[in-house]
Symmetry: C2
C-alpha cells in the first residue's frame, strides 16, 4: 500500500460542481476578504479541512487535483497525519506560544529541531542559518557573502574594521557600506524585498517603482528540447552564457565601480519559466566563481526538497567543491541557508542576527516532512512517477504540437510551453474546470508542482484533463 | 484575583542555583548548539516547559524574573493557558500543516483570523497587510509608500507605467527603479535587511560590510529629564530636529538626486536607547510630511501592543490625520503594516505580493493575545504597574545618582542610563545573579520590557534586585 493511500482518504477523482471557478461562494468570500486585505490575486477560497492529500477543496464544494500545491510549497499533501502529529506535539505548542529570540534564548529542544532540518541538508553542507522566507533566506545569504568577501579584502578574518569603515557605514557610504554587487541571471526570481528584488529579473511587476541596487545580470542558458537531440547547440549556449558571466565579473568593477562579491542562481529558474541549467553549466560557474573569488549561492527555494528527484536539484550536477551557500524555503516550510565552511560565520557576533532568527514552528514541520520523505522513499517515487508522467506528456505533445512545446523536466518538476500567454491562460482556466489546479510561469509556460505523494493514478487524471482541455482550446 | 494569578502557577520569587549564568548545563548545551548554529550570542539555554508567566527557567534550574521577554516579544507571559488553547485549535493545526499561499489560496477561516488582528489595529487604521518580521513589515511598507509616491508623480493612480519604466526597471535603473529615498533618524532601528538596514542607524555591527541605499538621516530629539522641569529645552530640541527633517527633505533631491518618498520613525527609539519623541514632535512630522508629500510610517515593532499604556504608543500623540502606515511585529507575533487609505493598495495586483503573504499561525496567536489584553484590561494594568514601578525607581535613582540617570518611560516601557557601557554590562550580569533577566540598549542604557501581566509584586522583586545589584557595583 502506498504512503498516499495509507496517509490520506483521497477521493478517486476531482469533483467540479460550479460552472466557473471561483464559484459563487468563493466570489462572495473574496469580496468580504477584500474589505480587509488586497484579495485581487485570490483564485478561490479553500476549504483546507476538506482537502486531502493531492486534492484541494474549495468553499463551493469543488475538489481539485492540485498540481500547483500553494506555489510549490506543500511537500506531502493536505491533512497529512504525520504533520498533524508534529503540529500537536508539546514542542510545537511551546514554539507557538513562547516564540523565542532564538539567537539569545534558545530552548533546550532547539538543537534537536535544527538537527532534523540538517538531516535534509544538501550533500557537502553541514551548518544552517534560519530565516523566515525565501527572500529573507537569500538576503541573509547575501549578508554572509558580503561579510566573507570584505574579510578577505581586508586581509583576513581576524583583521578588525577600520575607523573609516565604522564611521562611513553609519551614513551608508563606502568603505563601511561597500559598493559590492550580486550577479544574477535574466528571468531569475529570488524574492521581492530590496536586495532580493534587485537580483530578481523575471517580470516588471515584481520590481516597478522600487529603488534597486544596480547589479549585473548575466544570461541563463535557454536550451532546445529534447536535450538528447540538441547537445551541440546547448553546449554552445552554455559557453555563450558562461562568457557573459565572466565578462560581467571582470568589467563591473570598472564600468560600475562595484566588485561582484556573489553570484546567485536557481538550478531551474522556476517563476522565470522553468529554465534548466545543465550540470556542465553549474560546475563551470563553480570554476568561475572560485577563479574570481566570488561567493557561489544556489537558490533552491522552489527546486528544493525532492520534486526534481533528489532532495536538492543541484546535487544532480555534483558540483565540486560544493556551492558556498544553498538557500531554501517553500516545501521545507522553514527557510534559511545551508553552508559548510565556518568562514561564512562572521567574525563579529551579532553581524548576522535578528530578534527571532527563524521560526521554530516551521522548522519542526520541516523536520517532520524530511523524516517522511526518507522513511517512505518519496524521492524514488518522484522519479518513478515523473518518468511515467513525462512519457504520457510526450504523447500528448506529439498529438498537440501546435499547443504544447519544449516539454522539459526532472522527476515531477515538469513544464511545457504554450504558443501564447493567451492560450496558456485559457488552458489554466480550462484545467480548473476539468478538475485540476495548475500554475503558470513566465509568459506562456505551465509548471507542474505536484506534492511528493503524487502517484501514477494522479498522473492519469491530470493527463486526461489536459487532453480534454487541449481538445477544447 | 488578577489574570496573572489565574493564568499562571508562578513561583513567589526567582531561584538562582548556579554561581554564574549561563550555568554549567547551559554552557554544555551552547557548545553543542554551536556545532550547527552560530551560538555566540546565546545568553543561556531556556527550559520553556518549566517557565511560567513572568518567570523564565533555564536548563540549570535557575528561574529568573524576566523583564526582557525575548527582546520585547512575549506579550502575556510563558505557558499562557489562553494561548495554549489557540495553539491547539483546529485552525492552528490547519495553518501549520497546510501553510497556504495566502494571496492566491486563502482558507475559509483567513478573514476571521485577519479580523481579530484588525481588532488591535491603531485608531484610524482599518486595513492590514501581513508580513513575517519587523524588518519585512517595514520593507513592505516602503514598497507601498514607493508605489503610492510614484503613482502621484505619474499623475494619478490610473496612469499606466511607461514603456521606459517597464524596460529600465529590468536593469534596475530609473525611472522604472526610481531613485527614491526613505528618511530615518540617527540611532533608529528598523531591521537588518538591505532597505530596512539602510534606515537603521543604531550600531555599526548591524550594517558593516553590507551595501546600503544612501538615504538621509535626521536627528531624533534627545530630551532632558524629568520632562516637567525641562519643557523649554526639550521644545527647542524638537524644533532643532524638525528643522533638520525639513531641510533634508528639501535638499536631498538636489544633493543626492533622490526625492524623499517616505519617513519612518519609532515613537520611542528602542534598540537605539529608549529615546522618546514628544506628541508635538510626532504631530509636527505629520504636518511636515503632508506639506512635502512624504509618506509617514510609524514603526511600532517594539513599542506596539500595550507596554506603553496604550495599544500603540503613537496613539498617545493623537496624530491628526493619522500616520499613513503603522508597522508591527514582536509582541503581536504576526507582523505587517496597518493602513487606512485605499490609495496604499497598489494599482497593479501582484505589485506587493509573495508566496506566503504572512504566517497565519502567528496571526492566530496575535488575535488571541489581543483578546486577552482587552478582556483582562491589561492596558489599565500596564499603566498602574508602570506608575508604581516608576515611583520606586525614582527613589532608587535618588539613592544612586552616580549610577542611574535619565529615568524615563511610559507605563512599563521604562529605561534608565548607567554612567558607562562597562557599568551597564556589569549591572546586567549582576541582575541575572540576583534573579532578574534584563536587557540593555544603546551604549549604556537598561530597557525594561516586562510582559503585560507584570504586577506590583514583580516590580517589588525587580527593584529589590536592582538595589542589591547597584549596591555591589
Amino acid at each position: 500500500m502506498s504512503y498516499c493511500s495509507k496517509a490520506y482518504n483521497e477521493p478517486s477523482k476531482p469533483t467540479v460542481v460550479t460552472s466557473t471557478i471561483p464559484g459563487p461562494e468563493s466570489k462572495k468570500q473574496i469580496e468580504q476578504l477584500n474589505e480587509n486585505f488586497d484579495a485581487r490575486p485570490v483564485y478561490f477560497i479553500c476549504d483546507y479541512e476538506k482537502s486531502q492529500g493531492n486534492y484541494l477543496a474549495d468553499v463551493d464544494g469543488n475538489v481539485l487535483l492540485d498540481v500547483y500545491a500553494q506555489i510549490a510549497s506543500i511537500a506531502l499533501g493536505y491533512n497529512n497525519p504525520d504533520l498533524i502529529k508534529a503540529a500537536q506535539s508539546p514542542e510545537m505548542i511551546r514554539s507557538l506560544i513562547e516564540r523565542p529570540a532564538l539567537g539569545n534564548f534558545p530552548g533546550k529542544d532547539f538543537n534537536d529541531i535544527l538537527k532534523k532540518v540538517l538531516k535534509i541538508a544538501p550533500k557537502g553542507q553541514s551548518k544552517v542559518w534560519s530565516a523566515l522566507s525565501g527572500a529573507d533566506a537569500n538576503e541573509l545569504a547575501f549578508k554572509a557573502a558580503f561579510v566573507y568577501y570584505r574579510a578577505k579584502e581586508r586581509g583576513g578574518f581576524d583583521v578588525k574594521h577600520s575607523e573609516e569603515e565604522l564611521s562611513s557605514v553609519m551614513v551608508n557610504q563606502a568603505p563601511g557600506a561597500p559598493n559590492l554587487a550580486v550577479l544574477s541571471f535574466k528571468k531569475a526570481f529570488h524574492g521581492r524585498l530590496f536586495a532580493s528584488g534587485s537580483v530578481t529579473r523575471s517580470k516588471p511587476v515584481h520590481k516597478l517603482d522600487f529603488p534597486a541596487f544596480e547589479w549585473p545580470q548575466a544570461e541563463y542558458p535557454y536550451y532546445k528540447y529534447p536535450l538528447a537531440e540538441n547537445e551541440e547547440y546547448n553546449k554552445k549556449e552554455d559557453e555563450r552564457c558562461l562568457a557573459i558571466v565572466e565578462q560581467l565579473i571582470k568589467e563591473w568593477p570598472t564600468t560600475k565601480g562595484a566588485k561582484v562579491a556573489a553570484l546567485i542562481i536557481e538550478p531551474i529558474q522556476s517563476e522565470g519559466g522553468d529554465n534548466h541549467a545543465s550540470a556542465y553549466f553549474l560546475q563551470s560557474l563553480r570554476d568561475l566563481t572560485t577563479k574570481h573569488n566570488v561567493v557561489y549561492i544556489v537558490d533552491e527555494v522552489q527546486t528544493g526538497l525532492g520534486a526534481t528527484g533528489t532532495l536538492w536539484c543541484h546535487e544532480q550536477a555534483n558540483i565540486t567543491p560544493p556551492p558556498d551557500l544553498v538557500t531554501f524555503s517553500k516545501k521545507c516550510q522553514s527557510a534559511g541557508y545551508f553552508f559548510h565552511d565556518d568562514k561564512f560565520i562572521p567574525a563579529l557576533p551579532y553581524s548576522i542576527f535578528n530578534t527571532w532568527c527563524g521560526n521554530p514552528s516551521s522548522m519542526i514541520i520541516a523536520g517532520a516532512i524530511g523524516e517522511v520523505i526518507q522513511r517512505e522513499n518519496l524521492l524514488e517515487q518522484a522519479n518513478r512517477v515523473g518518468d511515467y508522467l513525462m512519457a504520457k506528456l510526450q504523447k500528448v505533445a506529439e498529438k498537440y504540437p501546435q499547443h504544447l512545446g519544449r516539454l522539459r523536466g526532472k522527476a515531477t518538476f515538469i513544464a511545457f510551453d504554450l504558443e501564447s500567454a493567451e492560450t496558456r491562460n485559457k488552458l489554466l482556466t480550462l484545467m480548473k474546470s476539468n478538475g485540476c489546479n495548475v500554475g503558470g510561469c513566465a509568459e506562456a509556460s505551465v509548471r507542474l508542482r505536484p506534492t511528493l505523494t503524487f502517484e501514477e493514478k494522479h498522473a492519469d487524471i491530470f493527463v486526461e484533463a489536459l487532453e480534454k482541455s487541449l481538445a477544447s482550446l
